[in-house]
């Protein structure tokens, strides 16, 4: 496929990575389409950062290939690196330079000259860094450093943006600001690959999600299909008496019991709420309050990565 432009933004084929005896990636295959906002999830050590680092050319794969728009990330690295912007997970910076110098140098590395000045100004404005443009990077707060990393990744106008845990360690307000910015980039046509520990983030932003566990791809689907795979609904009951034993037929459904609060996990298609309430009534158990909640990505994630009770 190398040598011509493909309609697939990112293509990952049979990717393996060994670190000594550790098999960090065990044959990963998937594709990301242009304009997608793609989530890459997995617990710590699942292989997300290794995969992204191979895509970025920071780590060499043991076996397998990654193509960006049909170009191989090792054999045609000049082309692929121009197509990709990477926001690293760690807050790394060069303490010798100002914000503007950092962006000027980063643009220069990609062969961009002074014509990139207005775009750098726009990035500084959009990411609320204009007032700090001539300050040394060391003087920036953590949130500002994170935004500078995003600006650095975008300075050469890449088509594919990879954000490795972009909101890690960022306060709630800044997280919302970054989410808004990611959505803007997506609307502007960028292909975005996002890794995150915050499942709410993936649920809010991503169109399609891949879940890695122990170096293997355990799920790859649209967000809705992933949620639909698990027909569970949670029924939360608040009982009047904390010591009341529940009827035997409800015990297999109990997911958690905390004082008067009981959470039952029910199959949407098989277990009716009326049946549960009838069973409680027949056992003379009084219910003070109840509500239902559909399972979220967190429950799906826990089930797929073996951390849940399924």
């Amino acid at each position: 496929m190398t040598g011509h432009t493909s309609s697939i933004a990112v293509s990952i084929c049979g990717l393996h990575k060994h670190y000594g005896t550790v098999h960090a990636l065990r044959g990963i295959d998937f594709e990301i389409m242009p304009g997608e906002l793609f989530g890459l999830l997995g617990p710590n050590g699942a292989g997300k950062s290794t995969l992204i680092n191979i895509l970025a050319g920071l780590v060499r794969a043991t076996r397998g290939d990654i193509l960006i728009h049909g170009h191989h990330v090792v054999q045609d690295y000049r082309r692929t690196r121009r197509d990709v912007g990477i926001v690293p997970q760690e807050l790394v910076y060069d303490p010798f330079f100002t914000v503007r110098e950092v962006l000027d140098y980063q643009a220069g590395y990609f062969g961009c000259g002074p014509e990139q000045g207005p775009w750098i100004d726009e990035l500084l404005d959009t990411l609320n860094l204009a007032a700090k443009a001539n300050d040394n990077v060391m003087s920036l707060s953590g949130g500002m450093k994170r935004r500078l990393l995003i600006a650095q990744a975008l300075v050469h106008r890449p088509q594919v943006l990879v954000l490795d845990e972009p909101t890690a360690g960022v306060d709630v307000e800044m997280r919302r600001v970054l989410w808004r910015f990611i959505k803007q980039l997506h609307e502007a046509g960028h292909t975005i690959v996002l890794t995150t520990h915050y499942l709410e983030e993936a649920e809010t932003l991503c169109d399609r999600i891949a879940i890695l566990n122990h170096g293997s791809l355990v799920a790859l689907d649209s967000k809705q299909c992933l949620l639909d795979r698990h027909p569970w609904r949670l029924l939360c009951l608040v009982l009047e008496d904390s010591k009341t034993p529940l009827p035997d037929q409800l015990m297999p459904l109990v997911r958690e019991r905390n004082d008067r609060r009981v959470v039952l996990r029910m199959n949407k298609h098989e277990d009716g709420i009326a049946g549960v309430l009838d069973a409680l009534h027949q056992s003379h158990i009084k219910v003070q309050d109840f509500y239902t909640r559909d399972v979220g990505l967190e429950e799906v994630f826990l089930a797929l990565t073996g951390s849940g009770d399924e």
Binding site: P88, F96, Y105, Y109, G111, G113
Partner: protein, 254 residues
């Protein structure tokens, strides 16, 4: 090289990095070399002429200039690389569409520049005390370039190899420093007993100093042509090894 602007930018960044701390990177080595000069001139002012008609101070100064240049060229590329590795900001260079050759040229060119600035600084400061004249500016320039480029490449190798500051310090203290002090900066190898005179000929730093000194004095321990040959071979060897390591991603792209 398909990304000359990228290479030029990396060179400018490396240059700017050391110029922002020029007191530490340029002025301090100049002052240190002057202190060496003062101390040695006081202690060895009665030292016999090394070459006919050449007093010891005039013999010593070219060696001191070259030693300052090569040590600072080494320090520039090695410290920049290890700092970037430790701070994690090397990632910005590794993510860019720069070839191993372009990265090599940018780092080595910045090392050459710092070495030359220090050398010029030492020369300008020292000629107030020592009447050192240049006999052959071409030879001086060739050895200055070969010496600083070689040590710039060696610094890059050391920076690639080191995972921590301690490893780099070990490389500097156990390789670069002994080789430069035992290279004939302070003496002519003709004054050494065997086997040390013969052993000195296996030290590439000796040829840097000796050839550079020839450019000033018109006299040297070995033929300047031989020194240029040895230095060129040393430089090419280091450069090929360095570019190969960058190409493989050794300790940079795991």
């Amino acid at each position: 090289m398909n990304n000359p602007r990228g290479m030029w930018t990396l060179f400018r960044k490396e240059m700017s990095r050391f110029m922002k701390v020029s007191v530490q990177t340029v002025l301090t080595p100049v002052v240190t070399s002057l202190l060496y000069l003062m101390v040695f001139l006081q202690v060895l002012k009665e030292h016999v002429e090394v070459y006919p008609g050449v007093v010891y101070s005039v013999f010593l100064l070219p060696g001191l200039i070259m030693m300052s240049m090569i040590q600072n060229a080494f320090a520039n590329s090695s410290s920049s690389l290890i700092q970037s590795k430790m701070m994690g900001n090397l990632v910005f260079v590794l993510l860019a569409p720069l070839s191993s050759l372009e990265i090599y040229f940018a780092f080595v060119a910045a090392a050459i520049l710092r070495g030359l600035l220090v050398g010029i600084g030492v020369y300008i400061a020292a000629i107030w005390f020592v009447p050192l004249h240049i006999t052959n500016i071409g030879v001086v320039l060739v050895f200055a370039l070969l010496g600083t480029a070689s040590l710039g490449a060696l610094g890059l190798l050391a920076g690639i190899w080191s995972r921590q500051f301690e490893q780099l310090a070990a490389f500097q203290n156990f390789v670069v420093l002994p080789l430069s002090f035992l290279s004939g900066v302070f003496y002519s190898i003709h004054s050494l007993p065997d086997p040390w005179a013969a052993v000195s000929r296996f030290n590439p730093f000796f040829y840097m100093i000796d050839g550079f000194r020839y450019g000033f004095l018109g006299a040297s321990d070995v033929s300047p042509t031989l020194s240029i040959g040895v230095m060129s071979a040393f430089f090419v060897l280091l450069s090929v090894f360095c570019i190969w390591l960058l190409h493989t991603g050794y300790k940079l792209r795991d």
